[in-house]
């Protein structure tokens, strides 16, 4: 980022915002380092860490071999020993190779040691579909990870969160997974003036409305915002809630919006069965069942390995048009019109 001019003034991309967050963390805390495949000389497979090697050197911008389990485990060990590693797993798809380290070590060591140890590790992963990368490169598993106690799961979906969530994650004593949807890296905009930090506890209302609540995060959040705009044109005012953290979930914010609109559509890029959407719906059933004017609904990804062909991939993923249709159905149940 150009020093001098206030950050908020310049237009930047989500990619730039994450890079600025990395730059700040590396500058402010000598315990912080970034490690992952091609984060250094290559500049990051999504060009997020471009230029950091030149500034911080190969010890702190550490290229790794293709050994996901070992370098994620090494991040755990370095965190145990008092450093503040930021491990980049190029995409969530490859994190399956490191899952044992994440679930059996990172998530358990604090509890299993009776609180003697803790793992202040941040793992950054690109996630999501939409770029025609096929079944092995299009997973959206952040909701799946949110099942695991001991982990914290957060999703920066706005430029502000892309810029400031990393610092919030590094300030926590626990392992935090930050999922960056690959479709958002090119999103352009400006930062909120004067904003210097964000928390990792609260969901955020990105648009207020009275008729229904759209609950989402990541790329789907932006589909929800687009849908909300079209719905407004037909007089339907949708509230859009950005979850921000998937574990823990901000139940209070969810229930507050449910009580306000009494109708809910959850939009989630995960596969439908076992989706995060189901968990949120269950919590609404448990905490606000009698506040509902209609059953909670969800729009998720079709239950298929994501196909390459564009028309098939688009058909598999939630879309703004699909959200609009689902919202209409929710407000004007079959028969009514």
């Amino acid at each position: 980022m150009p020093s001098g001019t206030p950050e908020s003034a310049v237009s930047l991309s989500y990619r730039d915002a994450v890079r600025a967050a990395l730059h700040q963390a590396l500058s402010e805390d000598p315990r912080v380092f970034l490690m992952g495949e091609d984060v250094g000389r290559y500049g990051g497979s999504y060009a997020v860490s471009k230029g950091l090697l030149e500034t911080f050197g190969p010890e702190r911008i550490r290229d790794t071999p293709l050994s996901e389990s070992a370098f994620v485990g090494a991040g755990i060990g370095a965190a145990l020993a008092g450093l503040r590693p930021i491990v980049e797993i190029m995409t969530v798809n490859f994190s399956l190779l490191a899952l044992d380290q994440i679930v059996n070590n990172a998530a358990t060591l604090s509890h299993m040691s009776g609180g003697q140890l803790n793992v202040p590790l941040v793992i950054r992963l690109a996630t999501g579909a939409g770029r025609q990368l096929g079944a092995q490169h299009s997973h959206s598993l952040e909701g799946w990870y949110a099942h695991v106690p001991g982990l914290r799961i957060a999703v920066p979906s706005t430029l502000d969160d892309a810029r400031f969530m990393l610092a919030a994650a590094l300030a926590l004593p626990d392992p935090v997974l930050l999922f960056e949807h690959l479709y958002l890296y090119n999103m352009e905009g400006t930062l909120t003036e004067g904003l210097a930090r964000v928390d990792l506890e609260h969901a955020a209302i990105r648009r207020s409305g009275r008729d229904l609540t759209l609950i989402s995060y990541g790329w789907s959040l932006h589909k929800c915002l687009a849908a909300a705009r079209s719905l407004a044109a037909e007089g339907i005012e949708a509230e859009v809630l950005d979850l921000r953290t998937l574990r823990p979930l901000d139940d209070a914010a969810i229930m507050a919006s449910v009580r306000h609109t009494r109708r809910v559509l959850i939009v989630d890029e995960g596969w439908r069965s076992g989706s995060l959407a189901a968990e949120i719906a269950m919590r609404i059933t448990e905490q606000a069942f009698y506040e509902l004017d209609a059953p909670v609904t969800r729009l998720c990804t079709a239950e298929v390995p994501i196909p390459y062909a564009r028309h098939l991939e688009e058909a598999a993923l939630p879309s703004a048009a699909g959200i609009v249709a689902a919202a209409r159905a929710l407000l004007r149940p079959a028969g009514g019109s």
Binding site: S45, L66, R131, L133, G134, A135, V304, Y308, A315
Partner: protein, 328 residues
Amino acid sequence: MNASAAALTREHGLRLLGAMLRIRGFEDRCYQLYGQMKIRGFLHLCNGEEAIAVGAMQEFGPEDAIVATYREHGHALARGIPMDRVMAELYGKQSGCSRGRGGSMHLFDASRRFYGGHAIVGGGLPVAVGIALAQKLRAERALTACFFGDGAVAEGEFHESLNLAALWRLPVLFVCENNLYAMGTALERAQAEPDISAKAAAYRIGAAVVDGMDVLAVQAAVAQAARTVRTESVPILLEMRTYRFRAHSMFDPQLYRGRAEVEAWQKRDPIITLSARLRALGVLQESDLAQLQRDCEAELDAAVQFAEHSAWEPVSDLERFVYAERHT
């Protein structure tokens, strides 16, 4: 099958040259089509590495199985998957060799025992071991050829798979396409021991280093190795030293290597090398080369036409094949 350079006939030389030209032409056409947004997603081209797929495939029969990576256009074409079916796959059409569901990284052809097209680095090795296990349990004389890059050597699955194949004496020919880089990571920054062939000793596997820019050397090495794999039912590791002329994928600024290095390797272009040898032997005329080029262009144009005019899979069929429709 004719493997030795000494006995190189005009016919065999032209076949090898044509096969490499065909792959090179295909990759260059893909590059253009990507610019035209006809092909999307990740596209990994194998320019410079054609000799490996072409030389190796000469030595495999229909009973043998092939497992490859996401940089597998050359392997698919050399194995005999029709070019139009491959091109249609890159277009995402129903007539593609994976029905449009796979794309560039996931080419399949069950009838030719071409088992993909794997986009998780190292993910194909255990699968190859399993196919070879089936071949052995059925007492076939077949082998499984498993192609992978130098980057895959760092993955735990490389270690586990080579040990399993050696322990169980399975007919796997492990072919490492060492092009010196895994994306932007040079081999010596990924491996404490950059001599990949040396790692075979940890599994008591025989290994050899081969000039992957020389199609005849590749064929000769594969012929010899394949014989041992079949007759003794043991795995062998061949390290092919090669180089990727183009970027890793379409999104690679190539900050990690210099022009000079690229140009030095381009002088060893396997197509140039073979053409020169054939000319020296007096079995290649300019007219032959022109003819091969014309044939290649014609086939490419036909493949593009086929892809352009093929139908899209109906969206209503999206959820087909998630579970098998027929039982093997």
